[in-house]
């Protein structure tokens, strides 16, 4: 089966900005995303999903498979709006996909 190399945008962020990141993904007409609840440690200390009482300490991870141009725009929007004040990191990976028609930007 034919393969194509595209980008995987990974955004790991505090739960507080979940809606905002979803908004960016929708606005940019990305074809889809995967969302996980994750835990970890970084500059802002241990962010542990098990601390059920405190939404503030919860982390989420988005994975978005898109072409290189759209990947750059999504990352730029996250950097501009949320890097300064929120617990968030973003990175890009190259991935090989099958069925490339599933990864084109939405038209509507």
């Amino acid at each position: 089966m034919e393969r194509k190399t595209i980008k995987k945008v990974v955004i790991i962020a505090e739960l507080a900005i979940k809606e905002e990141i979803l908004h960016i993904i929708n606005e940019m007409k990305a074809p889809g995303y995967t969302l996980y609840e994750v835990r970890g440690m970084g500059e802002k200390g241990v962010r542990d999903f098990e601390t059920t009482q405190l939404e503030y300490f919860k982390n989420i991870k988005f994975e978005i498979l898109v072409d290189a141009e759209l990947a750059e725009r999504i990352v730029a929007a996250v950097v501009d709006n949320y890097f300064k004040d929120y617990a968030v990191i973003a990175y890009l990976e190259e991935v090989q996909i099958l069925r490339q028609e599933k990864f084109r930007p939405r038209q509507n």
Binding site: A16, K44, F49, E50, T51, T52, Q53, L54, E55, Y86
Partner: protein, 334 residues
């Protein structure tokens, strides 16, 4: 009248408090004792449903009076004013900047539902009645401090664009008024009010007898959460830690004064004191994360959970009850 020592000891050996202490010890000893995320949320939902419903039933029994309206208005004004006092103390005693001081003061103006619930359980233990509208007072005390805290914190923002952003974004309003805690609380209050005593009969087996048991389970989790936050206090410095102790006392004193002036029952005065003394760690952080993302919540949350919450639960509540009773007897005999 019971002595203060007796009341305090009776509180310390009550099951919810002992389970709280057990949870704290488990966290300190790094036991793998844990309450799953799903159960934690279920317990919160249960407590809010129960307390809202009971308040609604209580409201359906009473008539709307001038005292009720005065009480509701006073509660909202008190909670709006408290952050200004808290902010003054923090700025005077620590080197904290305006943004973080404003954020912390918003937490201390607002309320902790769990502390309130523990207060109602405490009053039940002493067979002390309280007015149903206290629940409504609690709800009214949640949002105003966020506004005053934001007003204070914004003085510290350097970018003019950020200083003049509207105070109420739709996101903030949704967080404050339709956040799940307020939503289930007010919804249950309404259902309790509509169904009244008949509803209470139906629900008694669920929210009556099992209540203390569920509260114990919840307090165990609170102990685990608070115990894990203690570590973070080490970097805070004494003045800030002390603030976590004396600010609830300041709030409670104002609450007792206001409660006596309004003419609440001793139980009602105690609960108003508890509301003024307690500090938020769910609603306010969630709201501030959007309205004031510059604020460092890694200060306020450990301070509330590691110092103020345990202080109120272990010593504050009996103390406020004792003072409320004392004030009440002075007024009656005077």
């Amino acid at each position: 009248m019971n002595t203060l020592v007796n009341i305090a000891l009776l509180n310390l050996v009550s099951p919810p408090i002992l389970f709280f202490i057990l949870g704290t010890i488990a966290a300190r000893l790094k036991s793998d004792l844990d309450i799953s995320a799903g159960l934690g949320k279920t317990l919160s939902l249960y407590l809010m449903l129960a307390i809202g419903f009971k308040g609604g039933v209580e409201l359906s029994r009473s008539e709307l009076s001038l005292t009720t309206l005065t009480a509701l208005l006073t509660a909202a004004m008190l909670s709006f004013a408290l952050p200004f006092i808290a902010y003054g103390f923090i700025r005077l005693t620590t080197k904290m900047d305006r943004i973080d001081a404003g954020a912390i003061s918003a937490h201390y103006g607002s309320i902790s539902l769990v502390t309130f619930v523990a207060g109602t359980a405490f009053l039940e233990m002493h067979a002390e009645h309280f007015e149903g509208f206290l629940i409504v007072m609690m709800v009214l005390m949640e949002a105003p401090p966020i506004i005053s805290g934001l007003l204070l914190a914004r003085q510290g923002l350097t970018a003019a664009k950020e200083r003049h952003k509207p105070l109420f974004s739709p996101k903030l309003l949704r967080e404050v008024f339709f956040g799940w805690t307020i939503f289930i609380l007010l919804g249950s209050l309404l259902i309790g009010f509509l169904t009244g005593d008949r509803g209470m009969t139906d629900m008694a087996g669920f929210i009556g007898l099992p209540f203390i048991g569920f509260l114990c389970l919840f307090m165990l989790e609170m102990g685990l959460v608070a115990g894990r936050r203690l570590e973070e206090l080490r970097t805070f410095g004494l003045p800030l830690i002390l603030f976590g102790f004396y600010m609830p006392l300041v709030g409670a004193s104002l609450g007792i004064l206001a409660g006596l002036l309004i003419g609440l029952s001793p139980g009602g005065v105690t609960l108003l004191a508890i509301l003024c003394a307690s500090a938020s760690y769910i609603v306010v952080p969630a709201a501030l994360r959007h309205a004031l993302p510059q604020a460092n919540l890694s200060i306020s949350i450990p301070l509330v959970l590691g110092v103020t919450f345990p202080f109120n639960i272990l010593l504050g509540i009996p103390l406020y009850y004792y003072a409320a009773k004392l004030g009440w007897s002075v007024i009656r005999t005077g």
